[in-house]
């Protein structure tokens, strides 16, 4: 018997790493990752690179600033590092959207085919639930590091004297974007417990994100305190963050952290009593 070697954190790590391996091994995982790479290749080498070049150019720069003002992103003109300024806005919205796709199947397919039954005799439901969450977060983390590294490379190619400020900005950007992604992955953890198909989980997430605020605001017209529920819509702080610099955006991170804890606690509470 190997119970002497049973270590809760080791099992937790194994579940997370297996999720990572299984996600990239599945057709769905490969498809979504392929789409992700395509979109980011396009964004990095065209809009981000060209916009950064334009902002460096005094002739076109003023036109860019006017455009940014028009879409409410005027503060971006104050960024010293134009590549990261554009990346910041794009990544803040794209990573959460991407996580809705890739993190939708944390449990559903496996629960439907009975595969979770092989796991529950070998580790706790908490290890499975939180391990899967960490596994999907790791996928986002890896992809985030890759895109940040490429953007930094672009910065070095365009403006190599800014290598140090760019390097200093990397961890701040990583932290902000990663924490912003947290509630989206946690929401998918919760929905993957509640929904019976991956498609339904993704659809429900879109309904919550797209119509959630609308419904809450409508109801708040009758019961005003319901407007507080807006704080529980993932991404509610993203526009504010996009208009700030990463160091100021840190002040908004309590919202995604609170949402993440809430979604995970509800999801785990249901999963630990769920029939599998």
């Amino acid at each position: 018997m190997n119970t002497n070697k049973l270590d809760a954190s080791r099992q937790f790590g194994l579940i997370a790493s297996q999720e990572l391996a299984a996600s990239f091994a599945s057709k769905r995982g490969l498809f979504v990752t392929g789409i992700f790479i395509l979109i980011w290749s396009f964004l990095l080498f065209y809009p981000i690179r060209l916009s950064a070049e334009a902002m460096h150019n005094p002739d076109i720069g003023s036109l860019m600033v006017s455009l940014l003002s028009l879409v409410g992103l005027e503060p971006l003109k104050n960024w010293l590092l134009a590549e990261f300024a554009i990346y910041w806005v794009v990544a803040l919205f794209l990573f959460p959207t991407f996580s809705l796709l890739i993190a939708a199947d944390q449990m559903i397919s496996e629960r439907n085919r009975g595969g979770l039954r092989f796991l529950t005799l070998r580790c706790s439901r908490g290890q499975i639930f939180f391990g899967r969450f960490i596994g999907h977060l790791s996928i986002q983390g890896i992809l985030l590091v890759i895109t940040l590294a490429i953007t930094y490379l672009l910065l070095l190619i365009n403006n190599s004297e800014n290598w140090l400020p760019g390097l200093q900005l990397l961890p701040l950007m990583f932290l902000n974007i990663m924490v912003s992604v947290l509630p989206f992955v946690a929401l998918m953890s919760l929905l993957s417990i509640l929904m019976s198909s991956v498609r339904m989980a993704s659809l429900m997430a879109i309904v919550i994100l797209a119509l959630g605020s609308f419904i809450i605001n409508y109801l708040a017209g009758y019961i005003p305190f319901l407007s507080l529920l807006n704080t529980w819509i993932p991404g509610v702080q993203l526009v504010h963050m996009a208009q700030s610099t990463p160091s100021i955006a840190l002040m908004s991170l309590w919202i995604p952290l609170m949402q993440t804890v809430g979604f995970l606690l509800i999801g785990y509470g249901i999963f630990r009593r769920q029939e599998i």
Partner: protein
């Protein structure tokens, strides 16, 4: 022997339907135990509760003294869940070795353990295949292999031979019998002849109720708690003749200690007798058959599990 499973007042409801009704039993570690009952009797529900796949509506189930689902039971129970499938995107070896690692094996040990159990199921050659490339029977044997990984104290096998060809079904029975000295198996199946060969005890469920828990020996005096001290010690001989012969049945009826003879089929009958009155009835019977020149195919001490269950149900 130590108490392996203890269920007290176990109930499970699906909406209005009661799948398990106040189940009470205790099982000691030891020889394989059969779990029998018709479709919808609650066998899979009981397995699912014991395996921690679903919570009971009320009551308590303990394994090795710990409530089902306790951390202490991790790695100590193996199970073949009904209709559970592996990940179609990873190889058999990848998945089994991962499960072994969860049980505490190192990376190297987990590969060896996965290969060991695949070998037990004669599946070593397909270790690098994905589950989608396997037949139904092979998938089931892979699932049995995962249940045997490590050194579990208890293994629950839900319909282990359903859908398997006779050779593989035989191999599984052989493995269960060989491993029974180290592992207590609980096996559910509709194949009563198979259970009779593998198991020494039976739990009989019907409509969610535990109808009986008894030894599979074919004798009355060690199976029914309802048997009183003054009751005759009823024993059985099951006789299968080469061909139908009603006259011999009349002659057998005249032997000492015979209580009743049941005609099971034209060429097969069950003798009910008082063992205290005549402990050597089998020898008397053989002499009678020889004297009457009646050929027989089989004489079995006791009655089949099927006869035990149906006769007890009808009482």
């Amino acid at each position: 022997m130590s108490t392996l499973i203890e269920c007290r007042g176990l109930n499970k409801s699906y909406g209005q339907k009661k799948a398990l009704k106040n189940i009470d039993f205790e099982i000691q570690a030891g020889q394989p135990i059969a779990l029998v009952g018709p479709n919808g009797a609650g066998k899979s529900t009981l397995f699912s509760i014991l395996s921690g796949y679903m919570p009971a509506t009320s009551g308590q189930a303990k394994i090795l003294g710990y409530p089902v689902g306790s951390h202490e039971l991790i790695g100590r129970i193996g199970a073949l869940p009904q209709d559970a499938l592996f990940d179609p995107n990873l190889t058999i070896l990848q998945q089994l070795s991962f499960l072994a690692r969860l049980q505490g094996f190192s990376r190297q040990e987990s590969l060896a353990e996965a290969e060991r159990t695949l070998d037990l199921m004669q599946l070593l050659s397909i270790k690098n295949e994905k589950i989608t490339a396997l037949s139904h029977g092979m998938k089931k044997r892979v699932a049995i292999a995962q249940a045997l990984m490590g050194q579990p104290d208890l293994v629950l096998l839900d319909e282990p031979t359903a859908g398997l060809d006779p050779e593989n079904a035989r191999n599984i029975r052989k493995q269960v019998t060989e491993l029974a000295s180290d592992i207590t198996f609980i096996v559910s199946s509709h194949n009563l002849a198979e259970l009779e060969r593998m198991c020494t005890q039976v739990l009989h469920l019907e409509e969610g109720e535990l109808k009986a828990q008894k030894a599979i020996s074919g004798t009355d005096f060690d199976r029914d708690l309802s048997t009183t001290a003054s009751s005759p010690k009823v024993d059985y001989l099951t006789v299968r003749l080469q061909q139908n012969n009603t006259q011999i049945i009349n002659r057998v009826q005249q032997l000492k200690s015979i209580l009743k003879i049941d005609n099971k089929q034209a060429d097969e009958f069950i003798i009910h007798y008082d063992r205290q009155l005549n402990p050597i009835l089998d020898q008397d019977l053989l002499k009678l058959l020889a004297a009457e020149s009646v050929d027989y195919r089989q004489i079995t001490h006791g009655q089949s599990l099927e006869d035990q269950l149906f006769s007890s149900s009808s009482h």
